[in-house]
């Protein structure tokens, strides 16, 4: 567009110059000069940047909006322990890391970690063991960047079992650090 305008204006200027400077009686004006051929401008198609507007954006699968506290508790998986131990073992490290990611994304969430034990120890010892497990899980989350002030711990020992069988399957299910969301 610019080029043809430029060509046109030069032509016009040229014509004006010729007309102004001649003393002869004006002859029939020369035919309008054919504008110089303008090459078809190259149109470069630029991919539009996909910036979704908020109104149209899809909901995050793990969002806390519109979810009850109970539902949110389900977002945090339990970490399991070996017999008479409170060490965070390999599979529990992965679980806690996943929990930590979610917790750091939704940093308003407050939660409690319950420590549980299987039925085989005495009731009183298991309260102490449950307390160690809850705190071991808490310490691990804090080491991954979760703010300690968001976490409460409580031990239930063997008082609140999840599985009631008398076999290793049930016992393992009860040797856990269990997460409960208390505020979002």
């Amino acid at each position: 567009m610019k080029q043809s305008l430029k060509a046109g204006s030069i032509t016009l200027a040229a014509v004006a110059f010729v007309v102004a400077c001649s003393s002869k009686p004006p002859a029939a004006p020369p035919p309008a000069p054919t504008p110089a051929p303008v090459s078809t401008p190259t149109v470069v198609t630029v991919e539009p940047v996909a910036t979704p507007t908020p109104m149209l954006a899809p909901k995050d699968a793990d969002s806390i909006t519109g979810r009850s506290i109970n539902e949110l508790s389900g977002m945090l998986k339990p970490a399991f322990f070996d017999y008479d131990k409170a060490d965070i073992r390999g599979d529990s490290r992965d679980v806690l890391a996943t929990n930590a990611t979610w917790l750091k994304k939704y940093s308003s969430v407050q939660f409690t970690i319950e420590g549980h034990a299987d039925e085989r120890g005495t009731a009183q010892y298991n309260l102490a063991l449950g307390d160690r497990r809850a705190n071991a899980a808490k310490d691990y989350l804090v080491s991954l960047g979760v703010d300690a002030s968001r976490v409460k711990t409580v031990s239930y020992g063997k008082e609140r079992p999840f599985a009631t069988g008398h076999d290793e399957d049930s016992w393992q299910k009860n040797r856990r650090a269990h997460f409960v969301v208390t505020a979002k």
Partner: protein, 469 residues
């Protein structure tokens, strides 16, 4: 005759599915001393029967706890008017309670009633005395019960079958409803006659029960034989591990009724409940000191469980243990200077003893891979605890000077949480019995069979009062 008092416990504000708490009347039977025995002895060579409180004859009264020292006693059925209602409401419960108490006492061995001669009460001749001795008895307990309005009167005579002299004479009176208590009082008086201190038959236990509501445990009290079970807390959450104050007026326990589990005090009738403010977490397994001023407990700081002591008003919190291991379940020695506790600091949970500074720590249990929940006998000479090598927990008793240990429980299921009667003759504990957990009471020397004294819901962590009567 001293007028008996009646105590009624009101039950306001108790909720829960099928709340079973009924008003219970505790009635005191007033033994009356100084009554001459009704039937005079007929020994020609002796003077007239002694009046009032008779002296024991020259028998070896030392009781060592082994069965060879138990006195063979005949207890024929209580004599009473043959009124059906009296029999059902008074005579049968009285006689059963009396026999059970004495048979389980460890002081007496009861001769087989199938061998008893008819009549001959009291034995009035050498032949009659010998007829009783043929049952293997050395003593005869003759009891009479008679109605007195809404009350009953019980008269008891203990006869020495060798001398045919009564060596104990008692008379009791009380409401018919209190007839079991009369039996307990008589049994206790008999034991005192032979040992110098009363038997444990009037004492009470506290324990934790889930019978009222799912996922809820409340504190209960009951007579040592399972009668008069009464709920005293209404926490509607977990209330665990009660321990009696030495004077028997209140209990300390752990409860989850605030944000975080804490230590609580409550009067024995459920009144005057208050928390003991402590900055620690967990706050499990509280134990009253012998002077009633200090509570030892298992507290946690930043996930590390340690043994602490604190005054009952929350002051003077003191940490006694200091290591990364689990340290739990403290229990005072009767001398007030030491604590037994459980620790896995050397690998597996074992029992240790330390002083009140947390020093002089020494390991007590050497055998087995789990020893836990220690309790000192009232004289401090023995330790009862939950012991396990393979299989289930049982109850063991160790003599602390010799280290000799014996198992006093038997049978499948986990046996845990032993507590001593204040006279040191019995131990109560919790045991998984079938599909439920119940309180068992057995002899501290392991003799006889333990009796299950609870049945409703699941019942845990018994605590026996610390003084007799």
């Amino acid at each position: 005759m001293r007028k008996e008092e009646e105590k009624k416990i009101s039950v306001k504000g108790i909720r829960g599915v099928g709340a079973l708490l009924a008003a219970t009347a505790l009635v005191w039977a007033a033994p009356v001393l100084g009554q001459a025995p009704k039937h005079a002895t007929a020994s020609p060579a002796t003077s007239t029967a002694p009046s009032g409180f008779a002296q024991a004859s020259n028998i070896d009264l030392s009781i060592t706890g082994s069965s060879s020292a138990r006195r063979p006693l005949a207890i024929p059925m209580t004599i009473a008017p043959l009124l059906t209602e009296l029999q059902t409401k008074a005579v049968d419960p009285f006689y059963t309670t009396l026999s059970d108490d004495l048979a389980g006492s460890g002081v007496f061995v009861v001769a087989d009633p199938a061998l008893y001669p008819k009549g001959m009460r009291p034995p009035q001749s050498r032949e009659e005395g010998d007829a009783w001795k043929a049952t293997s008895a050395q003593f005869l307990l003759d009891t009479h019960l008679s109605p007195d309005g809404g009350n009953v009167v019980v008269e008891a005579l203990l006869w020495d079958l060798s001398t045919l002299k009564p060596i104990l004479s008692k008379k009791y009176s009380g409401e018919t409803r209190a007839v079991r208590r009369i039996a307990h009082t008589l049994a206790s008086d008999l034991v005192r006659q032979f040992t110098g201190k009363p038997g444990p038959f009037l004492t009470k236990l506290a324990f934790s029960s889930d019978r009222d509501e799912r996922r809820v445990k409340e504190i209960y009290t009951m007579d040592f034989d399972g009668e008069n079970q009464r709920r005293i807390t209404s926490s509607r959450t977990l209330s665990l591990a009660p321990d009696w104050s030495p004077d028997g007026t209140k209990l300390v326990y752990q409860s989850y009724e605030k944000d975080t589990p804490g230590l609580w005090l409550i009067g024995k009738d459920g009144t005057d409940k208050r928390p003991i403010p402590v900055p620690t977490q967990l706050n499990a397994s509280p134990s009253f000191s012998p002077d009633g001023r200090t509570i030892a407990f298992c507290g946690s700081v930043r996930g590390n469980t340690e043994i602490f002591t604190v005054q009952t008003d929350g002051s003077s919190l003191k940490r006694l243990t200091e290591n990364a291991a689990i340290d739990s379940t403290p229990r005072w020695s009767p001398n007030g200077r030491e604590l037994a506790f459980t620790s896995n600091r050397q690998g597996t949970p074992q029992i240790f003893i330390m002083d009140l500074e947390g020093a002089n720590v020494r390991r007590v249990t050497l055998a087995g891979n789990w020893n836990d929940e220690a309790a000192f006998s009232p004289d401090g000479g023995r330790l009862a605890f939950a012991c396990r090598n393979e299989g289930d927990f049982q109850i063991c008793v160790m003599d602390l000077s010799s280290g000799r240990t014996m198992q006093i429980s038997s049978g499948p299921g986990a046996h845990e949480g032993p507590t001593w009667s204040p006279d040191g003759s019995k131990i109560a504990w919790e045991v998984q019995h079938g599909s439920s957990t119940q309180i068992a009471v057995g002899n501290a020397n392991g003799s006889g069979t333990a009796r299950i004294v609870t049945s409703s819901g699941n019942n845990y962590s018994p605590s026996w009062v610390k003084t007799l009567e």
